[in-house]
């Protein structure tokens, strides 16, 4: 009887929903309209507009942008060796930070996923997430203070006759590895968690030494998760300009873009194409390596 009552009153909601019934393409279209509109028209469109300016140039005094197709910015980028140095430095540090974080994160993630008790894991997850809530700027400032000449790092190393790295590229690597570590720990943890314990037990039952199990079962299965985490560490390092500015004199891609965005936006846009291309390439490789799959 209730069903009849429901069927009797066909409200607007009912009728609308009826439109979607059995029409999967309409469903997909409606679902995607919002996100795709936002991301493609809004975001990609904005990017395209910015990148078009890379072909323009600028009047030195007024800063007015002169439209029209020209390749001067790209010529400048290719001819002057300093830009190659800067790109190389940025990509190099990004790769190093990614590697460092992968190595640092794995033991912690493994412990959380496979060894710790349920309560231990819970505490560790909270402990890893908490620093994400403390301000990025304040953390970098803390490191700047710690690495200074009279700072805590030198003070701690003094009894051993050692000296801290001070400011410079080593400091940038250190601070960035610190900042992005949680972004690497969590995906690896998720990936390791998904590996059924039965697989590991089977490997052990077949007589494998724990290291062999690690090398031939755990590592391959968790590799996509490592790649997924690396997307964050790599991209966040690639684009950062605040940390290099605060703990070093070295120029990263982001610094040069930032310095030029006022007077010479077309030039900054031309330079911006480099990290965009690098990241897209990285994402494509990551996709091939399975980072975008969930088992």
């Amino acid at each position: 009887m209730a069903a009849e009552a429901v069927a009797g009153k066909r409200s607007v909601g009912h009728r609308l929903a009826g439109l979607f019934q059995g029409r999967p393409r309409l469903q997909v279209g409606t679902l995607l309209a919002g996100p795709v509109g936002w991301l493609v028209v809004g975001y990609l469109g904005s990017l395209a507009v910015l990148l078009v300016t890379a072909f323009w140039s600028v009047d030195a005094l007024s800063g007015e942008v002169i439209q029209g197709f020209g390749l001067e910015n790209f010529e400048a980028l290719f001819e002057e060796p300093v830009y190659r140095d800067i790109v190389g430095r940025t990509v190099g540090v990004a790769a190093l930070v990614t590697l460092t974080d992968a190595i640092l994160a794995f033991p912690i993630a493994f412990y959380m996923a496979k060894v710790a008790s349920r309560r231990g894991t819970a505490i560790l997850v909270v402990a890893i997430l908490l620093p994400l809530w403390s301000s990025y700027l304040v953390k970098v400032l803390a490191w700047r203070t710690m690495l200074s000449n009279d700072g805590i790092v030198n003070w701690a190393l003094e009894p051993f006759g050692l000296h801290g790295p001070g400011y410079g590229i080593v400091a940038v690597w250190l601070v960035m590895s610190y900042l992005w570590l949680p972004y690497m720990i969590l995906p690896i943890y998720a990936g390791l968690e998904r590996i059924p314990n039965s697989l590991i037990s089977a490997s052990e039952d077949l007589g494998a030494h724990p290291l062999t199990t690690f090398r031939r079962v755990i590592l391959p299965l968790s590799f996509p998760a490592v790649v997924a985490g690396s997307i964050f560490t790599f991209s966040l390092t690639l684009g950062d300009y605040i940390t290099p500015r605060l703990v070093s004199n070295d120029q990263f891609i982001g610094n040069v873009i930032f310095n030029n965005i006022t007077n010479n936006q077309p030039f900054a846009a031309a330079l911006a194409i480099v990290p965009i291309v690098v990241m897209i390439a990285y994402l494509l490789v990551a996709r091939k390596l399975g980072a975008f799959e969930h088992v």
Partner: protein
């Protein structure tokens, strides 16, 4: 996994060192919140004092910035929830051309350098649309890179739950909206919650995109911090604010964790613990 005693011990030490690495700088921040000197941060600090705490709490600009950050975060998270869920539903429950590209597209805003995203959005607002910058532009910017976080979580949950429940619901006479409300939504609720919390955290601490989109009037907390980081005479206030935010954030982080541990019965997968982690994984 069976590990030898020595291996377990080594592992535990490694974890301990890792946690120490993560927390030592935060402890340093905490110590400098009591720094007696207003201008410099020397080690060891010249003296300790409580004076900065009331100054920080009374600081109007800091309070305004805090509220602005909350407002921006809530708005951006709301938009991200809607757009992320829509996209996740499409990807997890339907097949269509370009399905793999959606995952790629969604991660792009967070993968590209913040300065590029910030300048692009700022350009579009001021030059293409002729709209002035401000909180709205900030929300647009934040929502754009927060979508991926919600999307990841929801897609992961939807993939782990079978579509058969929704089909059964449809067979029983429920139309699309009813199925969504009574079957799909409950199963992904905790995933949504965890994703939303991480999205909020991302938006709350974001500085680079915000710098380019906020314009003159308003300030989010990171902008306020940046402005005061380089204003000597009040440096410890910044540390106090950072410390207070971390302490305050214990609540939502704990909440997120509890949320992800609740599982909706048979629809659950292997274990809810991984949910927040999945938010940072790529779909």
């Amino acid at each position: 996994m069976r590990l030898s005693k020595r291996a377990t011990w080594l592992l535990r030490t490694g974890v301990g060192l890792g946690l120490a690495f993560i927390y030592v700088p935060l402890i340093v921040v905490g110590i400098y919140a009591f720094n007696a000197s207003g201008t410099t941060q020397k080690w060891p600090p010249s003296g300790l004092t409580f004076e900065w705490f009331p100054k920080a709490i009374e600081n109007e600009a800091a309070r305004d910035a805090f509220l602005t950050s909350i407002k921006a975060g809530l708005a951006a998270t709301a938009i991200a929830i809607v757009l992320g869920t829509l996209a996740a539903l499409a990807v997890a429950r339907h097949r269509f051309f370009g399905r793999e590209t959606i995952s790629f597209l969604v991660v792009l805003p967070i993968a590209l350098p913040g300065i590029v995203t910030g300048v692009a959005i700022s350009n579009t607002f001021t030059q293409v649309l002729g709209v002035s910058l401000g909180l709205f532009a900030v929300v647009v910017g934040h929502a754009t890179f927060c979508i991926v976080v919600v999307y990841n979580n929801v897609v992961a949950r939807l993939r782990r739950t079978s579509a058969s429940f929704e089909e059964a619901s449809a067979d029983l006479g429920a139309h699309t909206w009813q199925t969504f409300r009574f079957v799909t939504l409950p199963t992904m609720r905790t995933a949504l919650g965890a994703g939303a919390l991480l999205a909020f955290a991302l938006s709350f601490d974001e500085i680079i995109v915000t710098t380019f989109t906020i314009g003159a009037g308003a300030e989010t907390l990171p902008i306020w911090i940046f402005r005061n980081l380089f204003r000597p005479t009040q440096l410890p206030i910044v540390n106090v604010v950072a410390l207070l935010v971390v302490l305050l954030s214990i609540i939502p982080v704990y909440l997120a964790h509890r949320l992800s541990r609740e599982e909706g019965g048979a629809a659950a997968g292997k274990g809810g613990r991984a949910t927040e982690a999945e938010a940072t994984a790529v779909p």
